[in-house]
């Protein structure tokens, strides 16, 4: 009788552990694929020879262009470059119709965050990889995950559930991550440094 009591308790415990560690984190995200597949590796390969800045440029005013618009892609992709189905679709659906691709932005910060690439690139000399990892050498665009409650993209939120590891690019781009880097570099900061 006593055993049964503890057993019931343990079953409940295990069920919750399983749910809390696996089911809930899985169910928490809405997954979607990018509208068009894209290979950063091909574009940065020697054959094409583009650098990050060629498409993700910084204007004189310090404003970061973000994801390139169709006008950046169209000159090279007026004709299909290769035979992939995505390439064909990209030409037919977007370039030909002059329709912007609705890219899902992995690193899109929420509305209340101010972030400028200019001071980080030009003054602090950070490399793209430091925040965006090896994104520039990937062959395909990852599945985009968005937190159903907070609406944050998974890249911003981070992939770890416990967030105990030291700073790594895929630990996320939440406030604590920005703050940690600032503290390591002795950057004086206040709320208004990063909020708008």
């Amino acid at each position: 009788m006593k055993n049964r009591a503890w057993l019931t308790f343990a079953v409940g415990l295990l069920a919750a552990l399983g749910g809390g560690w696996f089911a809930v984190p899985w169910a928490m995200y809405r997954r979607s694929e990018q509208p068009v597949q894209f290979s950063h590796r091909v574009h940065t390969s020697e054959a094409v020879g583009l650098s990050c800045q060629d498409c993700h440029a910084l204007s004189d005013g310090g404003k970061f262009g973000g994801i390139p618009r169709l006008e950046t892609c169209a000159p090279c992709h007026a004709e299909p470059q290769g035979k992939s189905a995505d390439e064909k679709r990209f030409i037919n659906e977007y370039v030909a119709k002059n329709r912007e691709v609705q890219w899902l932005v992995y690193a899109r910060q929420p509305e209340n965050v101010y972030f400028s690439h200019a001071p980080h690139i030009r003054l602090a000399g950070l490399k793209c990889e430091q925040c965006h990892g090896q994104h520039g050498t990937t062959d395909r665009l990852r599945t985009f995950e968005r937190n159903r409650i907070s609406t944050y993209p998974r890249d911003v939120e981070g992939y770890s559930l416990v967030r105990l590891q030291p700073s790594r690019w895929n630990e996320g781009m939440k406030m604590d991550d920005c703050s940690r880097c600032h503290h390591e570099r002795g950057v004086e900061e206040s709320c208004l440094t990063c909020h708008k």
Binding site: L58, S59, D60, G61, G62, K63, E111, N112, Y114, S116, A118, P119, R122, L123, E188, E189, S190, C191, L192, T193, H195, K196
Partner: protein
């Protein structure tokens, strides 16, 4: 205490009250720049959101000896014992060490409104309702400032987004110092009579520092010792006396 350290720059304002005709341009420009929503249904002068609010001050005499002056009042960006910074239970308010600007961060704000009771300038405003613009007018919002949700406090931050833009512009050119011309708050820009001077108070060459030292310059509630960074100027004695701490005493003026 986190309010004690000295900021790199101390941005401030000097408002010449003898040039202010109460047109309200500063208030309108502020609302446009900072995405301050129009009045919610039933909102009044007591529940509205006016980061820059123009008060009418009277000399207390009866007609025709009465005189009026306009006091544009925004957050005074207190530099010492900043009342709102010390009271916020969760650090939603602090002082930017680079600009001396007192912040208010809506996503951190709990909406307890303790800072509002602490502020002697009534310069803090609470979002009693969700923000709402007429349909499609969100296309006319400024993308550099986030829209606040209901239940949080907001206030003037000297158009901090313009400072951020100026920093980004300087950084893009490899510079750490901003061009002062790139950082002018919306109210200062909009004032038709150029009654407001803005800049770094610590820079002795700046117009604002020169004007703040003028003999007719004063600050509101200076005796409270909060070291506001907004100065006022007037050649009229009674207007200068309006800056004192003493409370109004006319019962007639009370609004229920």
């Amino acid at each position: 205490m986190n309010t004690a350290h000295k900021p790199k720059a101390r941005y401030g304002m000097v408002i010449d009250l003898d040039r202010c005709n109460g047109c309200g341009g500063c208030a309108a420009a502020c609302a446009v720049e900072n995405n301050v929503p129009p009045a919610a249904p039933k909102a009044s002068d007591r529940t509205g959101l006016t980061w820059m609010r123009i008060y009418r001050a009277e000399n207390g005499r009866s007609f025709p000896e009465n005189r009026t002056a306009f006091f544009p009042i925004s957050c005074q960006h207190c530099g010492a014992h900043t009342p709102c910074v010390s009271v916020c239970p969760q650090n939603a308010v602090d002082i930017n060490p680079e600009t001396g600007v007192v912040s208010q961060i809506p996503p951190r704000c709990l909406g307890c409104r303790y800072c509002m009771t602490a502020c002697p300038f009534h310069a803090r405003y609470f979002n009693w309702s969700d923000p709402e613009w007429p349909r499609d007018m969100e296309n006319a919002l400024n993308p550099d400032v986030s829209v606040r949700m209901r239940g949080v406090v907001e206030k003037c931050n000297f158009c901090h987004s313009r400072w951020q833009a100026a920093v980004a512009k300087a950084a893009a050119n490899g510079k750490r110092e901003i061009d002062p011309a790139d950082y002018v708050p919306a109210c200062v820009e909009a004032c038709p009579t150029e009654a407001i001077a803005f800049g770094n108070l610590d820079d002795p060459r700046s117009e604002v520092s020169r004007q703040s030292r003028a003999p007719n310059a004063f600050r509101l509630l200076a005796k409270l010792g909060t070291d506001p960074k907004v100065y006022y100027r007037s050649d009229r004695d009674w207007v200068r006396r309006m800056g004192d701490t003493d409370v109004a005493y006319e019962s007639e003026a009370s609004r229920g």
